[in-house]
C-alpha cells in the first residue's frame, strides 16, 4: 500500500475531527462563551497571566507536548502491525487527546487558571489530589530514566549525531545570552542559529564520535547515561533563560522543519508500506496487543502530561475562551500527526518485509533508532539528501526533544524534593544541590537497576511509563467529567475516554506485574504494584465522585423547579 494513502487518510480524519467533533464539543458540551472573561484578563499581571495571540499559544502548546514520546511509542507499537497503531493514534487524537487537552484548558480557565493538580483537590476531593501527586512523582521518575536510555541508544546507534547534539546546547546558550544580556532582536539569532545547527550536522557526519568499548567496566550505552545525568544535573541548576528557554525554542523550530521535511518527503517519494497490516507472527516475548497497545502509544493518542501543560501555562494566557478549541484540540492534533509520520517512517522506510522483520526482532528493541533509519530512507528518496545526513538530522531532532524533557524533568523533580524538605522540615533537602543530586540518583538507579549493568532499564519501563501517563490522563478527564456533571451537562464524551484509558492502564499494569515477577524484575514489579494500586484508587475515586455529584446535581435540580 502507498504511504500517501495512509498520510492523507490520517490528516483528513484529524481535520474532520477538528472541523466537526471539536465544534460539537465547544458548542454543546463545554459551551465556550466568547464574552467570558478569561483569567488572563481578570487576573492579568503581565507575568503568568497575560492575554496571548492564539497562534503563538498553539505553537507553544504543540511544541511543549510533542517531544520524543510520540516518536518512541509508535515506533515500538508497530510490532503488532501498522493498522492497530494507526487506528489508535487517529481515533485517540480525535476522540481522546483533543477532548482531553481542550477540556483541561476549559476546566482551568473556568477555575481562575488553576492547575489540574489543584483542581483535582477542589473538584473531586483531597484523596484524589494525593493520588494525583503520587502519579506525577512516578511519571517524572520514569520520564528521566526512560529518556536517558533512549538518548544513549540513539547516540550509540548514530555516532554522527554526537557533535551536533552537544553543539545545539552551545548554540542555545549563545542565543540565550544574545537575547537576554545583549538584547539582540530575536530574528537574527534564530536564522543564524538554525543555519549553524544544520551546518554542524555535516560536521557530525565527517567526525563521528564513539565512546570507548569499555570504560570502568561500562559499555558505551551506560557511559552515555552517566554523562547525560551529569549534564542534566548541571543544566537543571542553570538559570532557565540561559539554557532551557532557548533550547525549547530551537526544538520548536526543529519540530516544524522536521515535520515539514518528513511529510514533504512522503508525498514526493510515495514509499510503499512493507510492514504487515496486522503482524500475525510477532517475535517471541511480545506482550498481547490488548491492552499493551494502549499504553505503549500514550503520547500521540492521549497523554496525561498534556493536562499539566494545558492547565499550567496555556490556560493562564488564553485570550478568549473560544480559543481553547484552536489551541487545545489542534495542539494535540499536531502531536497526533507527528505520531502518524513516525508510523509511516517505521512501516514504509524499509526496503522489504524481511528487512522490517529483522528490525522488529523483539519487543522494545525498536525506538528512536528505528524511526531514524526508516525516516532517513524516506527523506533521502524524497529530497535527494544523503541517507547519512538525513539520519543524523532525525537523530539530532529526536535526541534534542528527549534531552529538553530530561532537563525539565530533573528540574521539576528537584522542586519536589525541595518541597519535601520544607514540608518535613529537613533543611538539607531544601538545598538545591542536595535535592538535584537526590533526584538524579533516583533516576540513575532506575535506569541501571532495572536492567542490570547494561543500563537498559529505561526501555523495559517504557510500557510502565505509558501506563502512568494514561492514569494521569484519566485523572484529568475525571476532573473535566465531574465538572460537567456539576453543570448538569452531557458527560459521556469525557467519561467514556476516562473509563477506557484508566481500565486499559489497570489491565496493562496487571499484565506487566505478572510478567515482571516471572522474569525476576522485582524492582520494576514493586514500582508496577504501586501503579496497579493507584489505578484501582483512581477508578474507585471516580465512581465515588460521580455518584456523589450526580446525586447532588439531581437534588439541587429537584429543589429548584425549572424556571
Amino acid at each position: 500500500m502507498s504511504a500517501i494513502v495512509l498520510a492523507v487518510t490520517g490528516i483528513v480524519a484529524v481535520a474532520l475531527g477538528y472541523r466537526f467533533y471539536s465544534k460539537f464539543m465547544a458548542e454543546k458540551i463545554y459551551k465556550l462563551d466568547p464574552n467570558f472573561e478569561t483569567p488572563s484578563h481578570t487576573m492579568r499581571d503581565d507575568v503568568d497571566f497575560i492575554p496571548t495571540n492564539r497562534v503563538v499559544l498553539w505553537g507553544h502548546h504543540f511544541t511543549a507536548v510533542a517531544g520524543a514520546a510520540p516518536i518512541i511509542g509508535p515506533a515500538i507499537a508497530v510490532i503488532w502491525g501498522w493498522l492497530p497503531a494507526f487506528l489508535w493514534v487517529i481515533f485517540g487524537t480525535i476522540f481522546f487527546a483533543g477532548v482531553h487537552d481542550f477540556g483541561a484548558i476549559w476546566a482551568s480557565v473556568r477555575n481562575k487558571g488553576t492547575s489540574v493538580g489543584a483542581l483535582t483537590g477542589q473538584v473531586v476531593g483531597p484523596r484524589a489530589r494525593t493520588l494525583f501527586m503520587i502519579v506525577i512523582f512516578l511519571l517524572l521518575l520514569m520520564v528521566n530514566a526512560v529518556f536517558a536510555v533512549a538518548i544513549s541508544n540513539a547516540l550509540v546507534d548514530t555516532p554522527s549525531a554526537v557533535i551536533p547534539v552537544w553543539s545545539a546546547i552551545a548554540v542555545a546558550v549563545v542565543i540565550g545570552v544574545l537575547i537576554y544580556r545583549v538584547g539582540v532582536p530575536i530574528l537574527w539569532p534564530t536564522v543564524v542559529g538554525t543555519i549553524i545547527l544544520y551546518a554542524v550536522i555535516y560536521l557530525g557526519e565527517i567526525v563521528p564520535v564513539e565512546l570507548p568499548a569499555t570504560f570502568l567496566g561500562l559499555a558505551p550505552g551506560p557511559q552515555w547515561i552517566l554523562i547525560l545525568f551529569v549534564y542534566a544535573m548541571i543544566a537543571s541548576l542553570l538559570p532557565v533563560w540561559l539554557l532551557l528557554q532557548p533550547r525549547d525554542y530551537i526544538n520548536g523550530i526543529q519540530l516544524f522543519i522536521g515535520l515539514g521535511l518528513l511529510f514533504g518527503a512522503v508525498f514526493i517519494a510515495n514509499p510503499t508500506i512493507v510492514a504487515p497490516m496486522l503482524n500475525a507472527n510477532v517475535p517471541a516475548g511480545t506482550p498481547p496487543i490488548f491492552p499493551l497497545l494502549f499504553v505503549t502509544v500514550a503520547c500521540g493518542a492521549i497523554s496525561g502530561f498534556h493536562g499539566l501543560v494545558s492547565s499550567g501555562t496555556t490556560s493562564k494566557q488564553l485570550d478568549k475562551e473560544t480559543d481553547a478549541r484552536f489551541v487545545g484540540y489542534l495542539g494535540s492534533a499536531g502531536e497526533g500527526l507527528l505520531a502518524l509520520v513516525v508510523i509511516i517512517a517505521v512501516s514504509a522506510g524499509f526496503a522489504s518485509l524481511t528487512e522490517w522483520e529483522a528490525t522488529y526482532s523483539s519487543f522494545g528493541s525498536t525506538g528512536i533508532g528505528t524511526f531514524v533509519a526508516g525516516g532517513a530512507n524516506i527523506i533521502s528518496s524524497g529530497t535527494g539528501l544523503s541517507v547519512e545526513f538525513a539520519s543524523t538530522l532525525l537523530a539530532v531532532m529526536a535526541v534534542l526533544f528527549a534531552g529538553t524533557t530530561m532537563d525539565a524533568g530533573v528540574r521539576l523533580q528537584r522542586y519536589i524534593v525541595q518541597e519535601w524538605g520544607t514540608i518535613y522540615n529537613i533543611p538539607t533537602l531544601q538545598n538545591g544541590y542536595v535535592a538535584t543530586l537526590l533526584a538524579v540518583t533516583a533516576c540513575v538507579a532506575l535506569a541501571f537497576g532495572a536492567g542490570g549493568a547494561d543500563g537498559q532499564g529505561g526501555m523495559l519501563i517504557w510500557p510502565l511509563f505509558g501506563t502512568t501517563n494514561q492514569l494521569l490522563a484519566g485523572l484529568t478527564l475525571l476532573v473535566v467529567s465531574v465538572m460537567l456533571v456539576k453543570l448538569r451537562r452531557q458527560y459521556v464524551f469525557t467519561l467514556v475516554p476516562m473509563v477506557f484509558v484508566t481500565s486499559m492502564s489497570f489491565l496493562a499494569a496487571l499484565y506487566q506485574l505478572w510478567d515482571l515477577i516471572a522474569s525476576g524484575q522485582y524492582m520494576l514489579a514493586g514500582l508496577d504494584l504501586v501503579i496497579v494500586v493507584a489505578s484501582i484508587f483512581v477508578l474507585l475515586e471516580s465512581a465515588a465522585a460521580f455518584t456523589r455529584e450526580r446525586r447532588a446535581a439531581d437534588a439541587s435540580a429537584a429543589a429548584a423547579p425549572a424556571s
Binding site: V47, L57, I186, V240, L244
Partner: protein, 90 residues
C-alpha cells in the same frame, strides 16, 4: 510586493517569534529576576539591619530609588511590618 509589505511581514514574523520565545517562560524569568532583586535589596539595606556592608557609601544613594519597592519586598520576605527600627514603612 512593495518594500513596505516585506518590512511589515518581517515585523510580524519577529513579533510572533519573540512571543513564541517568551510566552512560556515569562513567569519563570520574572520570578528569577525578582529573586535577584530581593538579594540586591538585602544588600542595599543590610547596614540598617546590622549586617556590615563595606559598600554602604554607594548603596546609601540607591535607597531612595528602591524605596518604592520596599513595602512589597518586606511583605514578600514574610515580615508584616518594616524590619527597620528607624525606617517605618507601614
Amino acid at each position: 510586493m512593495a518594500w513596505t509589505d516585506v518590512r511589515q511581514t518581517l515585523r510580524r514574523v519577529t513579533y510572533l517569534a519573540s512571543e513564541f520565545y517568551n510566552a512560556p517562560y515569562r513567569g519563570v524569568v520574572a520570578r528569577a529576576k525578582r529573586d535577584e532583586d530581593d538579594l540586591f535589596m538585602l544588600l542595599v539595606f543590610s547596614e540598617m539591619m546590622g549586617i556590615p556592608n563595606p559598600a554602604t557609601y554607594y548603596t546609601l544613594e540607591l535607597q531612595p530609588i528602591l524605596l518604592e519597592r520596599f513595602h512589597a519586598w518586606h511583605t514578600r520576605m514574610g515580615m508584616e511590618h518594616s524590619p527597620l527600627d528607624d525606617f517605618r514603612c507601614c
